[in-house]
Symmetry: C2
């Protein structure tokens, strides 16, 4: 019997006999069990035997786990044995990844993938499509779709309303459709993909194609590595159509309030000018991390005679050829906008307010993502689904330890590039602990630029640099605190975004926004991610302190993967499956 089989057998015995202590004793003192909805009906990491025992004490009786087994032969490297596993619970089926060292568990990922009796209709269980035989009351697929479109939200209440119709909402909507959860997606723009189409014209995805797949339909093998914005817009539009989503375009959500007795929301929307009241059980805010612009208030703004706007409202460079542009900020948007303005012949100054982490796109792709998300990974049998689980199996607590050596490699490889940038006066950082881009993204969602060309313009002085805080605007210039005056026809505030619970404040109430608290971040006690340690992304894809309110989003990888767990949580509630939440996140920060 292999180490893994013996461990699983012991684990199974302990769990089956309700012996939490023995089960917990199978884990190292430093160990991490990350559970995605299988045991905790939550996204939750517990650490070390004591926390594991407490979690099992609270959940075992209800969850009734069983059938622990490997699904392929384990791998051993550097003293760690890694095994793909599967198991069942009373309510569903799960999979995961186990890492053993010296016969004890170092990390365990358990992830629910389907609910018993509510499996998705796919493969051998896909719908038949045609109904064979003759039937005078036959309803065709088209008639059925048309009837649903006419009724849902009017005479039939949706179970779920998703606010925002970007890639996150679309992927989640597709999963909910497959699970038979009646859902309406409300999107301000007319068509799926418009929020991409309306952005500046040179924009392409900064993540490569292998990282970006939606559920169910993968991009074809001829899809570009970095998808141009209009092309991804077309893909989202077609996807929403063929996945049969109830996608309400040109629809603004105006307010929402929850009735705890009825356990339903009242959501006021305006659809193409018509006021409609929706009464869903569940409300999902999928408005994106970049939906609440952080617009600074600066002395003299109202007197400025040129154009000024937040980066999210920037119309693109075309009107600014030959003009003087000042871009406040030095992260992704700032770089992209500066480069596009330079391309049309604007005189561009970037105002760097604090140090920025920069990684070249090719380097990031190769060193940062290559092992999991690349053509080579696919060829090596690392499917998107496997890559997502491997990534999810690395505990957030120690993730930076895996990241630091990668970024050390990157710094070495691109030394000349960084030297040139610093020589030009650009202030660089690598995150407070040197763990680089992905940790910055998980902790604060900002503070970096994935270089696709703008850094060369900075290094060459084609994009000019200024430093420090903005003191005031005059009618035709930006004045910095050090007295520098930057004449300007255009000021772009690439000053980032606020926490997504700002949307809850806007749509629901400040009270609910405060009850839910800050969205995003791990509690790492680094810049813009205050402690205490949470161990999971705050409020994302899991129950919040407001009943029946959920946040969904993140990058394409996160939206794809975590939409599964959010969809299963929503489906379980629709079906009346008991979902006792273990370790509901506490609120320590309002925003």
């Amino acid at each position: 019997m292999s180490d893994v089989d013996r461990w699983l057998s012991d684990f199974d015995s302990a769990l089956s006999s309700g012996d939490s202590a023995s089960a917990a004793a199978l884990f190292h003192e430093e160990s991490f069990w990350r559970d995605l909805v299988a045991f905790t009906w939550n996204l939750k990491t517990v650490e070390g035997p004591a926390e594991i025992e407490a979690m099992l004490d609270a959940t075992l009786e209800h969850i009734q786990p069983s059938g622990w087994r490997t699904t392929e032969p384990p791998d051993t490297a550097d003293g760690i044995t890694t095994a793909w596993i599967a198991f069942e619970t009373a309510a569903g089926r799960g999979n995961g990844l186990l890492r053993l060292r010296d016969g004890k568990a170092w990390t365990l990922l358990t992830a629910l993938y389907e609910l018993k009796g509510h499996e998705e209709p796919k493969g051998t269980h896909r719908p038949k499509g045609v109904i064979h035989g003759a039937d005078p009351d036959r309803v065709t697929w088209l008639e059925d779709r048309q009837r649903e479109a006419e009724e849902l939200g009017y005479s039939v209440d949706p179970e779920v309303v998703i606010v925002g119709g970007g890639q996150g909402a679309i992927g989640l909507g597709a999963r909910l459709r497959q699970l038979g959860v009646p859902t309406i997606i409300c999107e301000r723009n007319e068509r799926p993909g418009d929020s991409w189409r309306r952005r500046y014209k040179s924009l392409c995805l900064h993540d490569p194609v292998w990282y970006d797949h939606l559920p169910y339909i993968k991009f074809p093998e001829n899809w570009p590595v970095f998808s141009p914005k209009d092309k991804i817009g077309d893909w989202l539009e077609m996807y929403a159509r063929v996945m049969e989503l109830n996608y309400w375009g040109s629809t603004t959500v105006q307010s929402a309030s929850f009735d705890p007795d009825e356990e339903r929301w009242t959501v006021q929307v305006e659809r193409a000018g018509q006021a409609i009241t929706l009464r869903p059980r569940q409300l999902v805010l999928a408005t994106g991390m970049s939906s609440q612009p952080n617009m600074p208030e600066i002395e003299g703004m109202s007197g400025f005679k040129g154009d000024q706007h937040h980066s999210s409202k920037h119309p693109g460079p075309d009107a600014y050829a030959g003009k003087k542009a000042v871009v406040i900020g030095s992260n992704n948007s700032a770089h992209d906008i500066c480069a596009a303005l330079w391309e049309v012949g604007a005189d561009v100054t970037m105002v760097q307010r604090s140090s920025t982490h920069i990684v070249r796109s090719g380097t990031l792709m190769e060193i940062g993502l290559g092992a999991l998300y690349s053509e080579e990974a696919v060829a090596a049998g690392v499917t998107t689904e496997k890559a997502d689980l491997i990534f999810a199996s690395l505990p957030y607590r120690i993730l930076h330890e895996f990241q630091i050596p990668l970024y050390d490699q990157m710094r070495e490889r691109d030394k000349d590039f960084y030297d040139r940038l610093e020589a030009a006066g650009f202030q660089l950082d690598w995150g407070e602990d040197g763990s680089g881009l992905f940790m910055k993204y998980l902790r604060r969602g900002s503070g970096y630029y994935i270089d696709v060309g703008a850094s060369d313009l900075v290094a060459d002085g084609k994009i000019k640099l200024a430093h420090g805080k903005v003191a005031r605007l005059t009618d035709d210039a930006v004045e910095l605190e050090d007295g520098t005056t930057l004449p300007a026809d255009l000021v772009v505030y690439a000053t980032g975004y606020n926490s997504m619970n700002g949307w809850a404040a806007e749509l629901i109430s400040q009270d609910v926004a405060d009850r839910v608290g800050k969205v995003w971040g791990l509690g790492s006690d680094t810049t813009k991610d205050p402690g205490p340690w949470e161990g999971e992304q705050r409020n994302m894809w899991k129950p919040t302190q407001q009943d029946n309110l959920w946040f969904h989003g993140g990058n394409l990888h996160q939206s794809r993967h975590y939409s599964l767990y959010l969809a299963l949580q929503l489906k379980a509630r629709l079906e009346g499956i008991e979902t006792p939440v273990y370790g509901l996140q506490e609120v320590h920060h309002l925003a």
Copy 2:
């Protein structure tokens, strides 16, 4: 050294030294070499050592084949060893399937899959999408697409014009786009998929999903087994969009003529009311096997007071509730239309003019297609691409021998069903040699119904049956030759379609249609497929007697697979690669 390796080594030596006789001697007396564009720049089957030697004598010097090898371990069963192989030629790379018996070849399939130096940009060679770096002359993806749409067909000549915009054209168009062959698809309807949407409302695909994939983007695993017509319409529309086809909807092609000196066609089209002259090098007729309605001329037709139309023009049953309907014919369309009319409460009579082959959909799926196109086949590693090659590797000459036992099984399994149908007076057949549906399809493209429910209505007398030829129409009835009078408010002529070269007559000239001759059929000398034996589908996907004129179509499986070979032939001609055609098909029948 295994049998296969030895054979390939001997074969390679003989071919490399130009020794056609030795190469041919490696084949059995009864043997079949099917070549798809790799040796013959044609779709061509040669039989036995003499024909093989003659083919090699004509092609070897130019083709320069090399590098013969297996791509996975061969299988042996029933004395036949089957091996997946790969090879190269001077111009390209090929794959195929070899079957050995007692060390000699029984069947060989050689299929070109790419041209050297013109490989499709996919996988590790996929386009980058973004152009990193800053560039004042940057052209975005959208601008590039818009410019192409403005120029192609106006200031820039297309290389290829495809007449007809159904699934065949769309799949071919996608391949040509990937190969960089500027192509315009001209479709009468407004949107891709409309030719499906406009058909009767209960229509679903009669072939299951595993058989129906398009190139590049497979249907997802939740796609219905039998796709409803409007759903497949939506899929085609999104596919044309994301594959970036130049799809001209609302465009009718009015005439075409070929200038042999310039080697260009002059194609007159009307696009949304505007007359445009296109000057492509190549013209592809992809109007479908079902585009030239065969409308009978019957005495008294002009005096009939009710509605009458060909099945292709049938608007659906809704207007005929409570009316008397007579449907002339007993194949697929006739059955579907009769059942739909019965469903709305029409009084329906089917006029059977000759015996019909009927197979139940579930039975066909299981016994007829299951080994190659099913969830089980996918699970057993038979990808769509492999299934297509396996199917293509079975020589048409002996294909019926593989089919007859399958249809014997079906007859046995559904005996009660067939007994009931015969008891109701329905005249059944199984093809002249008992080889069933697929051979009927390949030989004549008609003569069968895949039962999805209408046969029960026939067996139960709910759809009434009449037999024989129509003698005449009166003002309110159909009169048969045996004197039967069938009162009618509606007559539907489900009388099939004419050969596709009728389209060449209509668009180009009768002269060109006659030069090209009959399209479809194998020359099997069975009903509607007169000899002599051709060995391949007449005029389909390969050079015709008219330079630069091509026919494309067939079912979804054929369109998907053979569009590859047609696309490679067109690309080779665009790039000036020499393409000497071996065994150009002779014309024996005008239509």
